[in-house]
Symmetry: C2
Subunit: 375 residues, 2 copies
């Protein structure tokens, strides 16, 4: 019988780790990249192609799904997995980040966040308890605690107060999750560390979360505009503040070189809209750096997007064709570029897992940066 | 060795016919529906899915491709088949219809049409000779003669003069095509009958085309707003004016019930943007008539789009999910609905081919209309 949640580390190399998370709906190889399926779809992709690209788990967004089509409706339709035809694990965020960044007229209190939908202006309330309920209705496999994510450039006392409230919300999330009956017996709950760029606040947040106890721990509040150097600065210590035997998830990250630098610092899980959003905009990621397919220099380039990639896009189509599709605004351009970008991200994760297993992560990371950042 | 072009009729039932067109790049089962790949892509579809849906041949648009990415560019990149990854037959239209309907400031003379691109305003000239050259550069398998298509409600003398010019253009097209060297030895050329709704003009046009001699004959100038009754009125006599032993192609048609009525009247080939365009707009075709997936009544409908359809969309997803995707403006909604619509069109063609082969076309057509028009 498959476990509810088990994290088995198979190798470490410096601070980098590789292993497997075992859950009821399948294994997740770590370090893992989770494609983002905001509105019950990884944009421009069929789920079988997401899986074929190498994804073990995808992410769904509580904020978007609670507004459209609604958590109760998805529950009545058999849950998010059946609704969108993805039978492997799904991690859902808590809605805390997006309710503050996307909604209108939000009002933050100790109880939670009152807000108006960005879609139709309807009024909603999101609390730790409601977030847990929504994630249960969706049938989430990895549930995220409800938190608040302040801007990293706010005064320290604001960051501290926000973090402390997020820790009280984490405890309420834990208690609400644990009353979820059958769902709690097969799903996992992750806590989210806050504290912005302050090592002491990060320490206090980690200790509070550990005291509550979670299946995994996210490093939250990064990738919000602080820049890679500041982010890596936090990652130099934050993962070490969290339990070694639990997965560490860096939320909302990132660019390929962000992923490599974060794995180097002990991160196990990532999610980001970058490969999918970029695919729709004509930006492609390759082992030799990103490129903009709309650039006129690709108009007669009959070579593959990335000669080192074996995804369907790279083995079938030319850069000239992808350029034409992107310039013409054709959906197939978004479809093929997204498929490549996701395959590239998953290949990068696999290459990191292999390098960690072989004890050659430093060499891999340096070679990657040489090709990717200075092609 | 495969023939350049052979049309083998295997059965007739009343005026309806079924058979096979054999060409260098593959067989085309008739009656055939050709998905439209305007800009070197059947919108929102991968070519392998177009094929899996049952298409033997697709259509490409001379007007769009000459403007972007350009015929000479496609030639340098190995031709349209390689460019877009479709190795079966492609029929290209002549550009005559679209240059008049889509371009700006077009000027029509005996020589051809001078016009400005609707994309960038650049100036171009399309003549029978240039149209043949472009279709050769694209590597078209079935080349259409260059013609003019006037509105059916113009005075008879205008319709007659236009038809007569189109017949002179058909002769110039034939002569230009025949100088195409290697391409002419493996491609086919179709003439296009004009004459709007006038039986005598249609007769004169057919006779002129037969005198020139073509591999197949299109009925042009219909599906331009005259309505189904008027169209069927022309189809009651026009196919009989064309050679029995050559394919008859009704351009730009149509709705499912148009196809059934046209096959009933002796048509062998069709193309139309309806299944693809409708798919992007949330309109789905089913054996029980069309439906609008954006309608709120589908929000919690967990049944398949069409219970009689075995396409990937119908066997995998619910109407509720498709409704959600269409309401959310998600590309996957366009992808899945287009895939179904094309599969439905091809299933309809297969059902007609089967019924003709079994001598039961009348019963099939009546049953179809009963389910489709009065569900």
């Amino acid at each position: 019988m498959r476990p509810r949640f088990a994290f088995e580390l198979s190798a470490t190399d410096g601070r980098a780790r590789t292993g497997t998370i075992r859950m009821q709906r399948g294994d997740i190889r770590t370090p893992a990249f989770m494609p983002v399926g905001t509105a019950a779809t990884v944009k421009a992709m069929k789920p079988e192609a997401v899986r074929a690209g190498g994804a073990d788990i995808i992410l769904g967004n509580t904020y978007h799904l609670m507004l459209r089509p609604g958590a109760e409706r998805i529950d009545r339709l058999g849950g998010l997995h059946q609704f969108m035809n993805w039978d492997r694990p799904i991690l859902t965020d808590s809605g805390g980040y997006q309710v503050m960044s996307l909604s209108d007229l939000n009002k933050l209190t100790e109880e939670g966040v009152e807000f108006r939908s960005h879609i139709d202006g309807s009024k909603h309330m999101l609390t730790p308890e409601r977030s847990m309920e929504i994630q249960r209705l969706l049938g989430s496999d990895i549930v995220m605690a409800f938190d608040e994510c302040p801007r990293a450039d706010r005064p320290r006392d604001e960051i501290a107060a926000s973090m402390e409230m997020s820790m009280r919300w984490a405890k309420r999330s834990r208690e609400a999750f644990d009353t979820g009956g059958e769902h709690a017996s097969r799903a996992a709950l992750f806590g989210i560390q806050q504290g912005a760029l302050d090592e002491q606040l990060r320490r206090a947040s980690a200790d509070a979360l550990i005291d509550i106890g979670f299946d995994g721990y996210a490093v939250g509040g990064l990738a919000v505009g602080e820049g890679q150097e500041a982010m890596f600065g936090v990652l130099d210590y934050a993962p070490g503040q969290l339990p070694t035997d639990r997965p560490r998830y860096l939320m909302g990250v990132g660019k390929p070189d962000d992923l490599v630098g974060a794995v180097e610092r002990g991160i196990d899980m990532f999610d980001c809209v970058l490969p999918t959003r970029s695919g729709r905009n004509g930006q492609a990621f390759t082992w030799n750096g990103p490129l903009n397919l709309r650039n006129a220099r690709f108009a007669e380039d009959d070579g593959p997007l990335d000669a080192r990639c074996d995804c369907p896009t790279c083995t079938t189509y030319s850069r000239a064709y992808l350029h034409h599709l992107q310039k013409s605004g054709e959906m197939l351009g978004a479809m093929l570029t997204t498929e490549h970008n996701l395959a590239f991200y998953q290949s990068l994760m696999q290459a990191m897992r292999d390098a960690i297993g072989q004890g050659t992560f430093d060499a891999f990371a340096n070679a990657f940066r040489g090709d990717y950042l200075r092609p």
